[in-house]
């Protein structure tokens, strides 16, 4: 398919001797927001890391924008237009908010500069107020905002968000959700890993469910919502 941005093809990932992912495959199209759902320890983060170049697969392929990028270094992936927002945010704690953003600034793979600092501050008014603050002193939600903003500074083609709602208060989760809807509205391609299906409902169009290192279900998010059996088996009780 011509508008496929990311295609993960049957990857196996190991940590040391133990296999974490078993033939995981998924596909994300241009402008699509795809949810990767699963319980704690199901293999979501590992999938994200494998795509971002932090956990190279032993078998299988990662194809990004038509190129086989399996096993490339993280910085190469980033330069190809992939922005990764890790599970625990990993903002630079001693740097100010603005410095966190400045470090990440770069042109997109086609030279585009859609996200200058001014626009980031427009989209994230919260960060404008906090720009001089040291990132380590931000709340969890603020750090998550910063991490997403930082990812956008690199003018990515696609965002990888690993559990953006994790550990945040409901009200903060709601505001992150609003932001992601905004991003979806302007056509950003996103792969979002989540435990919390409800969070993804208004954000993602499609979902894959991962469990015990394998993809067990794929559908639209509406289809998933309707499938009580899958949900109770892989996501809740």
């Amino acid at each position: 398919m011509s508008d496929t941005v990311l295609s993960v093809e049957a990857i196996d990932v190991f940590y040391g001797a133990s296999q974490i992912l078993f033939g995981v495959g998924l596909e994300v199209r241009q402008g699509q927001t795809m949810a990767l759902l699963g319980r704690n320890g199901a293999g979501k983060s590992t999938t994200m890391k494998a795509i971002a170049g932090l956990a190279p697969p032993r078998r299988g392929q990662v194809v990004f924008r038509g190129q086989d990028v399996t096993g490339r270094k993280p910085y190469v992936m980033a330069r190809q237009g992939l922005a990764y927002v890790p599970e625990d945010r990993q903002v630079f704690p001693d740097h100010s908010v603005q410095d966190n953003l400045v470090i990440a600034a770069k042109k997109g793979p086609a030279g585009q500069d859609d996200w200058p600092l001014t626009r980031i501050y427009d989209v994230f008014p919260l960060l404008t107020r906090l720009k001089a603050r040291v990132a380590g002193r931000l709340s969890g939600g603020e750090q998550q905002m910063l991490a997403i903003a930082r990812a956008l500074m690199g003018n990515p083609v696609m965002l990888l968000l690993d559990e953006p709602s994790e550990g945040l208060a409901p009200i903060v989760v709601a505001s992150i959700g609003t932001l992601l809807k905004q991003l979806r509205a302007i056509g950003t391609t996103v792969l979002i890993a989540e435990q919390n299906m409800h969070f993804c409902l208004g954000i993602a169009s499609d979902a894959v469910v991962i469990d015990k290192g394998q993809i067990v279900y794929r559908d639209t998010i509406a289809g998933l919502k309707a499938n009580r059996e899958v949900r109770s088996r892989y996501l809740a009780m």
């Binding site: 993280p74 992936m77 330069r79 990993q90 704690p93 001693d94 470090i103």
Partner: protein, 300 residues
């Protein structure tokens, strides 16, 4: 011990001025070397036991360029630039292979480089010492402030080192590259995930560290003797500075270097026979009380 002499000195303006300036000059040149050491450690967690060699080679390079061109400025720049290149080569071909290895392995590699470079210097420049001599433009008599002797050349050196130190501090604090280097010191994986080639960044850190040591060597060349093995005593003192200031902290290195310089200049009056021992004791106390030094963060 000669506490009376020390008391006499600190109550006389001429002595205070003279000894302060002399402490500053000792401290500032030490700072340049220690800054590179601490920077490399902070970012790469590598203890560069070969750092004194950078200083030595910088001095010899500056000497040769000075002899060839007659220009002190060119000599110093050559020392700095040459050691930047040397730093990159050293990182690329040797140190890169022992990232994350046991510190003994790192020590061994650096030790080997020290041995090799000392002998190479002996082969290239000869076994006897070399003296650059004062460049003609600085052959001017000292002037006096409040009765204290202040040599103009040292004022220039202090100014230049402050400038370099300031540029380094500002560069790390304000420029994007500097911010990135500091970020890489804390979380290299994330920096890489933002599209920054950390391998290149590491080479750069070694280049900067090498350049600082090379500049220090070049700057000091007119007043110091150049001998194979001259890097060793500088290395030991920069270690003390680095440990006291906090491994990885540039500001800590600056303060510790100045303090060490002042300890030397006033200590030589008060404790002429045990200044060196005093420094080791200071280092042990700091390590035991606060292993991370005055301004450092502890690495686990």
């Amino acid at each position: 011990m000669d506490l009376d002499a020390l008391l006499d000195c600190v109550t006389t303006s001429s002595c205070v001025v003279t000894q302060t300036v002399s402490g500053l000059i000792v401290g500032m040149l030490l700072f340049l070397v220690a800054a590179g050491l601490t920077l490399i450690f902070g970012v790469l967690k590598i203890v560069n036991f070969a750092h004194g060699t950078f200083y030595m080679l910088g001095a010899y390079l500056a000497y040769s360029v000075f002899v060839g061109t007659g220009s002190y400025v060119l000599g110093v720049l050559a020392g700095g630039a040459g050691m930047a290149v040397f730093g990159v080569v050293f990182e690329r071909f040797l140190i890169r292979r022992v990232y994350g290895a046991n510190v003994l392995m790192q020590l061994l590699i650096c030790y080997a480089v020290v041995l090799i470079c000392d002998d190479l210097v002996k082969i290239v420049w000869g076994p006897d010492f070399r003296a650059m001599g004062m460049p003609p433009e600085f052959q001017v008599p000292p002037f006096f402030i409040a009765g204290g002797v202040v040599p103009p050349f040292y004022l220039v050196l202090i100014a230049v080192t402050l400038l370099i130190g300031g540029a380094l501090g500002l560069g790390l604090g304000l420029t994007r590259v500097g911010k990135t280097i500091r970020a890489a010191a804390i979380n290299p994986d994330m920096v890489s995930a933002l599209g920054i080639n950390t391998t290149l960044l590491y080479s750069m850190v070694f280049a900067v560290g090498g350049m600082l040591a090379g500049l220090a060597g070049g700057l000091a060349a007119p007043v110091r003797s150049l001998t194979p093995g001259m890097g060793f005593s500088i290395l030991i003192e920069s270690f003390i500075v680095t440990v006291i200031g906090g491994m990885g902290s540039i500001a800590g290195a600056l303060i510790a270097a100045v303090v060490l310089g002042l300890i030397r200049s006033f200590g030589t009056i008060g404790f002429p026979l045990f200044t060196e021992g005093l420094m080791y004791i200071a280092m042990i106390i700091i390590l035991v009380v606060k292993p991370s030094g005055l301004f450092g963060k502890e690495i686990v």
